[in-house]
Symmetry: C2
Subunit: 363 residues, 2 copies
């Protein structure tokens, strides 16, 4: 991806090289994947001048070579990662007086080990540099996110269409998950299917319970070739009261107006405040941020919350997801993925937003 | 789980309290889940004397209360996590001069923030304490892992039975994944279906390619209620040559003999060396560790590798998975999950290990 731009940023900050490490099979460093296309065990070195390279254990050597555009060097057996790295840096005469790491994911243990084996170095935090770089997507990334949104859209549409056939929340989850896999994707996150009072918990986990009457929040997205989509719809089981329809309309109005007023250069926190204003007496039950960037991670920049200092920029993709949660009673949320491209805003997720009601007892 | 035992360990090390934090939706702190049953955003405080409690944001409050055995306190809005924590600790008069964190997952950013808001504290590493505590499973955990192995077993058996119906590696992956979900589980890790020369990469990713002739490695496991299973079988497509049968038999013999010689008190590195000895001329193509503990993580203690200092202990569950990988040519691995309980060893995964051959062209 934008390696040259990143190298310029390193140079400007007087950082000789950036280090991205994945040592744990539980999670991988998204920056490593971003710059190299590889997501296994090992370490990516992006020096400010030379071409990036991967240092990987013997067992990953072949795989890394297939997956990555970068040069791959085998991590010498019997050595600790940073011992092996020091040897390579010395051999290749790569200066490393100042090393940048992403401190939001670099663990204290890793830091200690780095300090132990590369003793004289200065360490700088490059969390923001990486996040800001990745916040503005390349054309290829936008294509992948578009596809990710299209797939999520089509699965969610089908899910709502056959919603009356599901008995439990868990069944809905299994449907969403299996459809995701059949289309060659994985889940972007554990889907939320929150019916009845469950909907009052923004991060509710679907249960083996019969779907309850009232509002039901479905929050779902897929991961297509590393890129996430994230969409929420709230449907209604049974006959909504006039009052319930009104609250839903208010939420939908808030989401629509806020999306319409988004433009590059505008403060993200401004959108949050507008939402609160429209929600009026319900604003105190809107208990989370208004939105977040999506990309290789499900939560990236921009952060659209009251304290955010960010402004909308070109080539960003982010969610707008106002919600209202009445503790122990009900909840609702409407979420779409928005792209700003050539200064124009586009809603990438297309499932209709009008309140869909499903006959109670028909499921 | 073993909270009291952990509190005693804290007391012994003169640590006032342990802090476990999850701030990122990408991954959660397994220790937090272990002690509290909750796996969302927030922070778990285990003090050496008082009952553990969770500090969670408003939006997670209801959910945390449902999920957790612990007391739940709402993280005061507008405050940073550790600001909110300091208030709570002061109010409840919980001493916190010395704080333990798991440095293998605690990020540098989090550490800096902790230092900023709780200025006078000493910080101690409790990585090993947590890992060692979790290495010996409780009865409930053993039951969950048993179930996890049983489910993985039954899916893998079915997969092998209908292997001739799959065209591509990816199809096999989709089958394994959908079956996993239908049984209420998630994948323990991305399954490996590595046919032909792909099998020479221990962490190969299944492709949209027709399954190649020769050895095919299938490495798969499920996550059942948080607990992992991990099993590998190598099958053969076509008619194996005498030589190929011999190598497979050698690998199987190595795995069997090594498992048979496991007992509490024995050095894990001993098993590794025995494997190498049996593999003889093939030992140099055995490029990874022999095994690892499984539980809430797919890689836990014990670490069964040449440099491990650990000894097998009662109530441990771990894999034994020797493999042989001929770069660019072929590969094979046989992996089972072993439990030591009441001093007795038990193989929890039961899919037959004898080399299964599938007619080439029948798929």
């Amino acid at each position: 991806m934008k390696t040259k731009k990143f190298q310029k940023a390193l140079e400007k900050r007087k950082i000789d090289l950036a280090l991205f490490c994945t040592l744990d099979s539980d999670s991988f460093d998204k920056n490593m994947f971003y710059f190299s296309g590889y997501k296994g065990m090992g370490c990516l070195v992006v020096s400010k001048k030379k071409k990036p390279f991967l240092l990987v254990p013997q067992m990953e050597y072949e795989r890394a070579k297939e997956a990555s555009r970068c040069r791959v060097i085998e991590w010498k057996k019997g050595l600790k990662l940073f011992e092996a790295l020091e040897e390579v840096l010395a051999k290749q005469k790569i200066s490393h007086a100042t090393v940048g790491v992403d401190q939001s994911i670099f663990s204290i243990s890793l830091y200690k080990s780095l300090r132990k084996h590369l003793r004289q170095i200065k360490v700088r935090d490059i969390t923001k540099d990486c996040l800001q770089l990745r916040a503005q997507k390349t054309k290829e990334e936008i294509q992948l996110i578009r596809k990710s949104c299209r797939i999520a859209d089509s699965i969610l549409k089908e899910c709502i269409k056959k919603f009356h056939t599901f008995k439990t929340e868990k069944e809905v989850e299994v449907f969403l998950h299996t459809q995701t896999i059949k289309r060659g994707c994985t889940l972007a996150f554990d889907p939320i299917i929150a019916s009845g009072k469950g909907a009052s918990m923004p991060h509710y986990e679907p249960q083996e319970v019969t779907i309850r009457k009232g509002f039901c929040v479905i929050d779902f997205g897929v991961n297509y070739k590393g890129y996430h989509s994230d969409i929420t719809r709230t449907i209604y089981l049974g006959n909504p009261k006039e009052e319930e329809r009104k609250v839903y309309s208010l939420l939908l109005q808030a989401q629509r107006e806020v999306i319409r007023s988004i433009r590059t250069g505008k403060l993200c926190s401004g959108s949050y405040k507008e939402t609160q204003k429209i929600l009026g007496e319900y604003a105190e039950y809107f208990t989370h941020g208004l939105g977040h960037g999506i990309g290789l991670q499900i939560h990236e920049l921009p952060n659209i919350s009251p304290n955010s200092k960010e402004k909308y920029q070109n080539n960003q993709v982010f969610t707008i997801e106002p919600g209202i949660y009445m503790p122990g009673k009900w909840g609702m949320r409407i979420e779409d993925d928005i792209l700003i491209y050539n200064g124009k805003r586009e809603v990438l997720t297309k499932v209709p937003r009008k309140l869909i009601t499903i006959k109670a007892g028909s499921h």
